[in-house]
């Protein structure tokens, strides 16, 4: 077999455009998943049992079923039900965000519980209200401890994002297959986007390290 990368040159701009298309929804999905995951984590440690139970059930369902199924349900099945024709872009953000929030909430819950109970007591003794204490004292410490785990989740999300090619979203992955079909050669375009995915993940890893270093205030 002989590789010929010369043939994909005309398609390179088309494939590079996929970087932004992928990143666009990945960034939204990460933010959405992170915010929802934080809220879910707060529900899980709530003293109101029902709230905690609902958050646990949510997590259980989203971790217990395939992501691609969740994506298909949101893109194909929900529109049948409610009659709203959802775009691939919005479906992707929703599916990945909802799914990611389940994992993120578990990570953050563990992070919160790992913060010394004395921190809560010190804040309470100063008269700091619960919400303020969570925001200013507990969550910042929890986040610092769980940053590596969170980064891992974001990296997984970035890689799994290739699944959205199955609902016709023109992301990196989809573009590689389009080019492959055009050229009757799959290896070169797949390898090309493979390298791009790898660089994206490396980029995320480096950002994670930098943030970690900036947060390393204690010991």
């Amino acid at each position: 077999m002989n590789l010929d990368f010369g043939q994909i040159v005309p398609y390179i701009p088309f494939m590079l455009e996929g970087i932004w298309v992928t990143l666009k929804f990945v960034i939204f999905a990460i933010i959405f998943g992170f915010v929802l995951g934080t809220l879910l984590a707060l529900c899980k440690i709530s003293h109101v049992k029902v709230i905690g139970w609902l958050a646990d059930a949510y997590t259980s369902v989203f971790r217990g079923t395939p992501l691609i199924l969740q994506l298909m349900i949101i893109y194909y099945a929900v529109p049948e039900l409610v009659g709203y024709d959802i775009s691939p872009f919005l479906s992707s953000i929703l599916a990945f965000g909802l799914n990611s929030s389940a994992y993120v909430s578990e990570i953050i819950r563990a992070g919160i519980q790992a913060v010394d109970k004395g921190q809560t007591e010190a804040a309470q003794a100063l008269g700091v209200p619960y919400n303020q204490m969570m925001k200013d004292i507990i969550l910042p410490q929890a986040m610092k401890n769980i940053l590596p785990a969170l980064m891992n989740e974001f990296i997984t999300l970035t890689k799994e994002s290739a699944l959205v090619s199955t609902i016709g979203y023109l992301d990196l992955m989809r573009r590689a297959t389009v080019v492959g079909a055009d050229l009757y050669r799959n290896f070169e375009p797949l390898l090309f986007v493979g390298v791009i995915y790898y660089l994206l993940v490396m980029g995320l890893t480096i950002i994670g390290r930098l943030v970690e270093r900036r947060l390393r205030y204690s010991d």
Binding site: G118, Q124, A125, L126, G127, Y217, S218
Partner: protein, 240 residues
């Protein structure tokens, strides 16, 4: 300023405090001593409701803090607490540790909060540590910051739970000195301590707890020289 009446506290079936009744008046320094596990910390923590009493009442300025209608946050603002393990906020500088609650809880302006914080840091001898993070401080320095942090809320009462027990011996004095100054300034203080020297010298009154009961209370000279109860005698023989 604090009236404790028939205070009981149980954890499950374990009755940790049994029918404690006592008062702390304004400007008084009370030392709480007793064997480990006798309920000293629990007693102290009932005074600012870090533990919820099972029975009985705690009145702060004649307000029953166990009454669900009482705004416990407002009460806690008036009561400072210093812990054995400091519990400084590790992600904040020393100055931020001191100004956080005044800014967020009392709504003080940044300027006022910072200038008061600097005064307090001067008082505890840590002016040069303003921008340091807690992890870079020694135990004695951490505890002095913790005391200053509590004082920044301008409390009327300060609770100390074994403030020197986690310190290396050479750092005990610097913390006790700060506490002595505080006592001299007229602060009302309740201090759980194993430092009998401090109790003798600084306290106006000693409470002796054993097995969750207030066995004996009195002025330090009398308590240390002529304890009235066998249990107090036994305890003092063991530690002195």
């Amino acid at each position: 300023m604090i009236k404790v009446k028939n205070l009981h506290k149980s954890f499950g079936n374990n009755e940790v405090l049994k029918d404690i009744t006592t008062d702390i008046s304004k400007g008084e320094v009370v030392s709480i001593i007793g064997p480990s596990g006798s309920g000293k910390s629990t007693f102290l923590r009932c005074l600012n409701l870090l533990e919820k009493p099972t029975k009985g009442s705690v009145l702060v300025h004649n307000q029953n803090i166990t009454d669900p209608k009482t705004n416990i946050m407002k009460i806690r603002e008036q009561i400072g607490m210093v812990f054995q393990h400091f519990y400084l906020f590790p992600h904040m500088t020393v100055l931020e540790n001191l100004t956080y609650a005044p800014l967020k809880v009392k709504g003080e302006s940044k300027q006022v909060a910072q200038s008061k914080a600097r005064d307090l840091l001067a008082k505890v001898g840590l002016t040069d540590k303003e921008t340091a993070f807690p992890s870079s401080l020694s135990g004695g320095q951490k505890q002095r910051v913790a005391i200053a942090r509590a004082l920044a809320m301008e409390p009327e009462l300060m609770l100390f739970d074994e403030p020197t027990s986690a310190l290396d011996p050479e750092m005990v004095k610097e913390v006790l000195d700060v506490m002595k100054d505080l006592a001299k300034s007229g602060m009302t203080m309740a201090v759980v301590t194993h430092e009998m020297g401090f109790a003798k010298e600084v306290a106006d009154r000693v409470l002796f707890l054993d097995h969750g009961m207030l066995i004996e209370e009195g002025n330090p000279e009398q308590f240390f020289d002529q304890p009235k109860t066998e249990r107090a005698k036994g305890f003092l023989e063991k530690i002195l």
